[in-house]
């Protein structure tokens, strides 16, 4: 067992699988603790010195975040294969 960070979303508890910064924005990759194929992405926004997580604005932003995740974890995927 390993200690990880989790947050609660409207439909359950999600493990923070990774955080990646793209152009100064932090993207959080969240995996449902009950189903590893159920995941989503949020971004961290700062308001009055407090951190919030928000939905991504566009499909393109989603695609870019997915690409960044793949670039970072490509080796793990290849090792798995």
């Amino acid at each position: 067992m390993e200690e990880v960070k989790v947050i609660d979303l409207e439909d359950g508890t999600y493990i923070i699988s990774d955080e990646i910064s793209i152009n100064g924005i932090r993207y959080v990759f969240l995996t449902n603790e009950k189903d590893m194929l159920d995941f989503c992405i949020r971004k961290v926004v700062i308001n009055n010195n407090e951190e919030y997580i928000d939905y991504l604005d566009t499909d393109e932003e989603f695609d870019a975040a997915m690409q960044a995740f793949l670039d970072k974890h490509k080796q793990e995927l290849e090792d798995f294969n």
Binding site: M1, E2, E3, V4, K5, V6, I7, L9, T13, I15, I16, S17, D18, V28, F29, T31, E33, M36, L37, D38, F39, C40, I41, R42, V44, V45, N47, E50, E51, Y52, I53, D54, Y55, L56, D57, T58, D59, E61, F62, D63, A65, M66, Q67, F69, L70, H73, K74, E76, L77, F80
Partner: protein, 254 residues
């Protein structure tokens, strides 16, 4: 008759035709199976995207980012990383796959359109032979097919219209019938050459389809490959690409 066919026995011809049919059936099956898998993956990824991207149908007030700590199995953590990375790969693949399917559909629809006049001229009949009832066909008027090749779809260049006619012919004895179409095209254009532009006159100045391909300096495989690209570009209304691809046809070969 195709000289290659003359060397084949009846049994060899039958086996060849059966192989062609089986290939088509297998190709259709594979395409449908691939389509089902793609649909399933798309549903999963759309769900992921829906859960990630803002939507007018959903409250989007940001929530405070206050992670808690929890113990989770190492396998689950590793699996979640692999699942997201694999999804990123698959999303890319699906994007390409969808693009490929769109191209294929565009090509098929366009080719159907420019070969419709050929299908309109085929007559199906039924005859009994020693093995039972067999469906046969013939072309009512090959001259009419040639005339319609020249008269219809005039917004499409002549070489692509000739390809449409070729693809519209029944695959069995396609080349033989195409030779007859080419002779008819030549006859019709020679009767009234001033009615046609230079491209049409040059394209229709052949007594056989083989001569036409030789004049283009292409074997049949290359010809079909290039024409499929052109049909795809027409189908997608990418006329710059059509013009670029047609250079091989309008070029200095003839």
């Amino acid at each position: 008759m195709n000289p290659e066919d003359e060397k084949l026995t009846l049994e060899e011809k039958f086996n060849r035709d059966i192989d062609q049919v089986l290939n088509i059936v297998q190709k259709n099956y594979e395409e449908k199976r691939q389509q089902r898998m793609t649909d399933e993956m798309l549903r999963m990824f759309n769900n992921t995207k829906t859960k990630s991207v803002k939507s007018p149908q959903r409250r989007t007030t940001p929530q405070k980012y206050q992670p808690k700590k929890k113990k989770v199995s190492v396998d689950f953590i590793r699996g979640s990383i692999i699942a997201i990375a694999a999804s990123a790969v698959l999303i890319g693949s699906i994007g390409l796959g969808l693009n490929g399917m769109k191209n294929t559909n565009a090509r098929i629809d366009f080719t159907d359109e420019i070969s419709e006049h050929v299908r309109d001229n085929v007559i199906y009949t039924e005859q009994l032979d020693s093995s039972g009832r067999a469906k046969t066909w013939y072309y009512d008027d090959v001259g009419e097919i040639a005339r319609e090749t020249l008269e219809e779809n005039q917004n499409v260049d002549i070489d692509t219209r000739i390809y449409g006619t070729y693809m519209g012919l029944q695959s069995y004895q396609r080349d033989e019938y195409m030779d007859r179409v080419m002779r008819n095209l030549q006859r019709i254009v020679e009767e009234n050459p001033l009615d046609y532009d230079e491209e049409t006159v040059r394209a229709c100045n052949h007594t056989t389809f083989t001569d036409y391909l030789a004049d283009l300096n292409m074997d049949k495989e290359t010809y079909i490959e290039k024409m499929q690209e052109i049909a795809t570009a027409y189908g997608r209304e990418d006329f710059d690409r059509v013009a670029e691809l047609l250079e091989d046809f309008r070029g200095g070969q003839r």
